[in-house]
Symmetry: C2
Subunit: 328 residues, 2 copies
């Protein structure tokens, strides 16, 4: 900046004013702009951040185990939604992958080191070190999904997993299915537990724990294993609520191999309304997750916090309608 001030024959202060607004004479301005163009000057952001005490960047963290992250159909859409909002507000969204303890530690330093002004956190688990850190340093943040702890200090954005699971199960009942099972996943995470709760609520007295197969992850393989287990336990099963579309796809594959027709013999419903849903045979009835909207709202909430807004909502719960296709 000193160099370009010298080149334009003015002082650093004046250069700063053309960069950040202020009274500058037209002559000085053009001279400075010419110098900037010639030298190819770019303001050094490290210095700017140091002085301004903010970076105009927001971190996006997914605390999921990495294998799941790659499969999750929603994360990409959430990122794009969040980026759209942050981008308009002039913020750079940077996403950080956490794949090992070493990563956790480094990301913690990164967050507390002033690289970002806020954070969006997907699928935080209870007592995750990163979650705790964010609480400690009081960084503007938003959880996506029901936060396990810290619920009262950090707002969250999500859907009503319990209600939606209840709703789609009810309609499975309403269409005449009598022996309805569920392939439940990731019970250690909020969404997993909530979906199972909704399922249980919908069935009420007719809930039979023997008809719940529990698998670790929301993936195709989980669907395959879960469905095999259910078929073995109850060959007369005629309805299945799979905790995600990928799981449903795996389940349908097993049903097909077992010679059961979907939806003739067995009705299958999923969750997410991801790309999987339209590609199964027949297309899957499922719960639509407004992933992009979730991202947008999350970004808005961090942005408002960063801007010093003190009364941001504690939570935003978005509608997640049933999408009725042909699998049930």
């Amino acid at each position: 900046m000193k160099d370009i001030a010298a080149a334009a024959g003015v002082s650093r202060g004046t250069v700063n004013r053309v960069l950040n607004g202020g009274y500058v004479s037209p002559e000085a301005r053009t001279a400075i702009e010419a110098a900037i163009a010639e030298v190819g000057y770019v303001p050094n952001t490290a210095a700017r951040n140091l002085k301004r005490r903010r970076s105009e960047a927001v971190g996006f963290l997914a605390l999921e185990p990495h294998a799941v992250l790659l499969e999750d159909p929603n994360i990409g859409a959430i990122m794009l939604g969040a980026n759209a909002v942050l981008s308009l507000a002039g913020y750079q969204m940077v996403s950080l992958v956490i794949d090992s303890d070493r990563d956790t530690e480094r990301v913690a330093r990164y967050l507390s080191g002033g690289f970002v002004d806020g954070a969006i956190i997907v699928s935080a688990r209870a007592y995750d070190p990163i979650t705790r850190l964010i609480g400690q340093i009081a960084m503007p943040a938003v959880f996506i999904g029901h936060p396990p702890d810290l619920a009262n200090t950090i707002p969250f954005v999500g859907i009503d997993n319990v209600g939606s699971a209840r709703e789609i199960t009810s309609r499975l009942i309403a269409t005449g299915r009598r022996r309805i099972g569920m392939i439940a996943c990731a019970l250690n995470r909020d969404s997993g537990g909530d979906r199972l709760d909704g399922f249980r609520q919908a069935l009420g007295d007719r809930f039979d724990p023997a008809l719940v197969a529990e698998v670790p992850h929301y993936d195709y393989l989980g669907g395959v294993n879960g469905m095999r287990e259910l078929l073995e336990r109850e060959p007369g099963i005629d309805g299945v609520f799979a905790a995600s579309d990928a799981v449903a796809a795996g389940a349908m594959q097993v049903l097909r191999e077992a010679g059961r027709d979907v939806p003739g013999d067995v009705g299958v419903v999923g969750f997410d309304d991801s790309a999987w849903a339209a590609r199964t045979q027949p297309p899957l009835s499922t719960i639509h997750q407004p992933a992009r909207e979730i991202g947008r709202h999350a970004a808005e909430l961090v942005h408002r916090q960063i801007s010093g807004d003190t009364d941001v909502p504690r939570s935003v719960v978005l509608p997640s309608p049933v999408v009725w296709r042909h699998s049930a």
Copy 2:
């Protein structure tokens, strides 16, 4: 830092030495560490970067249109591979999403603003503004995929798309297929064009342009549309090379609906060896892309450049073997 120096009764210099290594007496060290723990002090990275003129972070950019990014089965694995290497070297990998012109501009500022010491760029297109910028500011960088321009200034990591396409097409020929078509995608990108070239080379004189359906993206829908087109143009088609596994999955769906047996009536091969490949019915023969290895090598090349290594290889081409399953 001044505060904790005062608290420990030493000078800033000594504090700096316990943080960054140097001669410090045990007493001073413990006093300082105690003070650090008590105050909860974290070094300010903006200030550190300012002085050191590096950030110990590497950017990961995907220049793809966002819809494709979400579908691409390889990007996630490439990121994890790159992160593994960078993480060990103490670097923070940050990925930036580019979804609009506004993003392009902001990312350009971010890159030239000293937030990162290097960049890994996936699927750069010719004359992309970001690509050009990186060339201009001479930032350590690596392309993943065949770079369109700047090939001689920036190294790249990838596979031999031409050779692999030729190989898998040849084996389609060797197994007796006579009327072999291709669903080609993304011809404006290197990988798309190269795969078509390989296909053409393998067929030699028997290459028939009427048997190439061109679709915009490497996705399931592209496979559906491409296969419909091929069937219409040549009902007697008995072999299909789909430019990606997702495309192959779409194509197989169309073939199934048309009553053709795979591999009985038509042999189908894909490309990528992604999660799709194992889930199609029958499982797909395809080309394995070593995505994680690609990520690792890319990270290594940037890291070496950042460390000042002057003779890093111009390119790294990794083996991409055929995986022979049941679809052909």
